[in-house]
């Protein structure tokens, strides 16, 4: 079983702040991490390899420094790591990213492809399904449990708003996973050694038979027009005083507005 896990290096968004004067993101000093959902995707792939044998390849598209995340994935147990990096990929939106990933996956070949359900920086949840479409492959989203997997068949539970669906598919298939699926393992000592020595395979535009006009900013249908900070609620009232006074005032206000 050949499995590809798509991972993304993301800024730890919990640490990001806006500069109130310039209205821009303060990204300096914000640590980069593997997108948390992708760790669950990797764990699922490793468990299937343990059960059925095969190889787990981690794939990321990003700048050269994304190599750090690939090595971290190797330390958890991935067999191979591929960095998809090229200036031509810069500025990709979800359409162009999915197209590029799909071209690379086609080259690498796999029976199963795992993605996290979404990345915490963009939160779109689009790249998994779009990649599957470019691969002309089915996908199943929000996998919370893998009930059965064989060389040509998989049955999973897909999380929905009001419960779950049991879904089956032939292989190859792309799966996006939610946190409930598993608990990602910690890197082992042996894994850490392997990560240090691992040779990261690099792929660029020339290696994936992609149409240049479909890559990067040029290939992206969407554009970011501007960014801005969220609005302030107009009728805000700050309540001061001691804790008792604050609670007293608040209760009074709530009773006046008939909330209590």
């Amino acid at each position: 079983m050949d499995i590809i896990v798509c991972i993304k290096q993301v800024p730890d968004t919990a640490e990001i702040r806006i500069n109130p004067e310039t209205n821009t993101l303060m990204r300096e000093g914000v640590p980069s991490i593997i997108n948390p959902f992708d760790l669950h995707a990797l764990e699922a792939a490793l468990q299937i390899r343990e059960q059925l044998g095969g190889r787990v390849t981690v794939l990321t598209m990003g700048p050269p420094q994304a190599e750090v995340s690939l090595r971290e994935a190797v330390s958890m147990g991935a067999d191979e790591a591929v960095l998809l990096s090229d200036r031509a990929f810069a500025g990709s939106d979800t359409w162009a990213t999915s197209y590029t990933l799909a071209r690379a996956i086609k080259k690498l070949g796999a029976h199963l492809i795992f993605c996290g359900k979404q990345a915490i920086d963009g939160d779109t949840a689009q790249v998994g399904p779009e990649t599957a479409e470019f691969l002309d492959m089915p996908h199943i989203s929000y996998i919370r449990k893998i009930e059965e997997v064989r060389d040509d068949y998989i049955r999973v539970e897909r999380m929905m708003d009001d419960g779950y669906d049991v879904v089956e598919s032939s292989l190859p298939v792309l799966l996006t996973v939610v946190r409930e699926l598993n608990q990602p393992r910690m890197p082992s000592l042996k894994g850490k050694m392997a990560a240090k020595k691992a040779v990261i395979k690099k792929m660029g535009m020339a290696d994936i038979d992609a149409r240049e006009e479909d890559l990067g900013l040029r290939g992206s249908p969407t554009q970011v027009k501007n960014i801005f900070a969220p609005e302030i609620r107009a009728e805000r009232r700050m309540i001061g005083g001691t804790a008792e006074e604050q609670v007293y005032t608040l209760i009074k206000e709530l009773r006046e507005s008939k909330c209590l």
Partner: protein
């Protein structure tokens, strides 16, 4: 064009909200509003017209009765290719978020997820799609100028429904799509009605906690306050990520969108990711130690203070008022 999601033949509420937004955009552009309804009956199509659609494209193919990424994306892409709408809106529900990206890939256009505002640019006629970005710390306006349709998803309870007109007339067209193929199959749909989910959507009071609650002890205090108010407990992503509160309580872009009468945010810093899920609450009470916390920007009442002191006091007072 609005994709009107249905489950078990019943149209999802988000579809009516999208018709509200779609009606406004169509009027501004001087065009008609079309709803696409897959796998349902004509009766439901009539409802879509009464909520603002001019025309409903109905496809009752049996392969569309249950949600299926393959058949749904093929069907909608086919309809889009034939009808050439300038805008396509869909709910950012588990169904919409799963198959709409495939449709965007098929028809080679952009897709903007989880829009919180949709307006027409007066000069260019392009759709201005506002969404939270970077973990929700900032808002971004997204354009799709060179491709059509301009596709966007919107989370439930973000847009307002339009006027319901029982007399409103419109056209219902049956589409015969044919040749839909599926590689996946839903064997079974299991309902797990979480009392939490129901409560968060229906309650008048939500007491929510963030990183500032510090652990399960803080969570207990929130539960007590929510109990006294007859409300439910919500959580920010930070508190869920720490493992203090289960995910089913999460409010925000990656959790639930809620609009109770009163939302009490305790120890929540206020990343936009959280704010987009609760800022339409009628009254927002913020309790936070840090006066600089961005959550104060959306507060109706702001209290700078220690939640471990304020919350128990509040619980006590409310119990006194409500009596035993």
């Amino acid at each position: 064009m609005v994709f009107a999601e249905q489950r078990e033949g019943k149209v999802a509420p988000v579809a009516y909200e999208l018709l509200g937004a779609g009606r406004r955009l169509a009027d501004e552009l001087g065009t008609r509003l079309v709803a696409v309804l897959l796998g349902a009956e004509e009766g439901e199509a009539g409802e879509l017209i009464r909520w603002g659609a001019d025309r409903v494209i109905l496809c009752s193919d049996p392969s569309l009765e249950k949600f299926n990424d393959d058949t749904y994306s093929q069907a909608l892409a086919k309809i889009i290719t034939e009808q050439r709408p300038s805008i396509v809106l869909a709910g950012a529900t588990p169904i919409g978020r799963s198959f709409i990206p495939r449709v965007a890939a098929k028809v080679r256009t952009g897709l903007t997820a989880d829009c919180t505002s949709l307006e027409i640019d007066k000069e260019t006629g392009n759709l201005l799609q506002v969404r939270p970005a970077f973990g929700g710390n900032i808002m971004a306006t997204i354009l799709c100028p060179g491709y059509r349709p301009q596709m966007a998803t919107v989370r439930p309870r973000v847009m307002k429904r339009g006027e319901y007109d029982p007399e409103r007339a419109g056209e219902i067209v049956n589409a015969d799509l044919g040749g839909l193929r599926s590689r996946t199959k839903v064997l079974e749909s299991v309902r797990e009605v979480s009392s939490v989910a129901v409560n968060l959507h229906e309650t008048e009071f939500i007491v929510a906690g963030g990183r500032g609650i510090g652990g399960e002890k803080g969570y207990k205090l929130l539960e007590e306050l929510a109990g006294a108010l007859g409300g439910a407990v919500g959580a920010s992503r930070a508190a869920v990520d720490e493992g203090w509160i289960p995910y089913s309580h999460q409010v925000g872009q990656t959790g639930k969108t809620v609009n109770p009468k009163v939302y009490i945010a305790c120890g929540i810093s206020g990343a936009v990711q959280h704010l987009v899920g609760m800022q339409s609450s009628d009254i927002i009470i913020v309790i936070n130690k840090n006066p600089e916390a961005p959550i104060f920007n959306v507060a109706t009442y702001g209290i700078v203070g220690d939640l471990f002191e304020i919350v128990p006091l509040l619980t006590k007072k409310i119990k006194e008022i409500k009596g035993p």
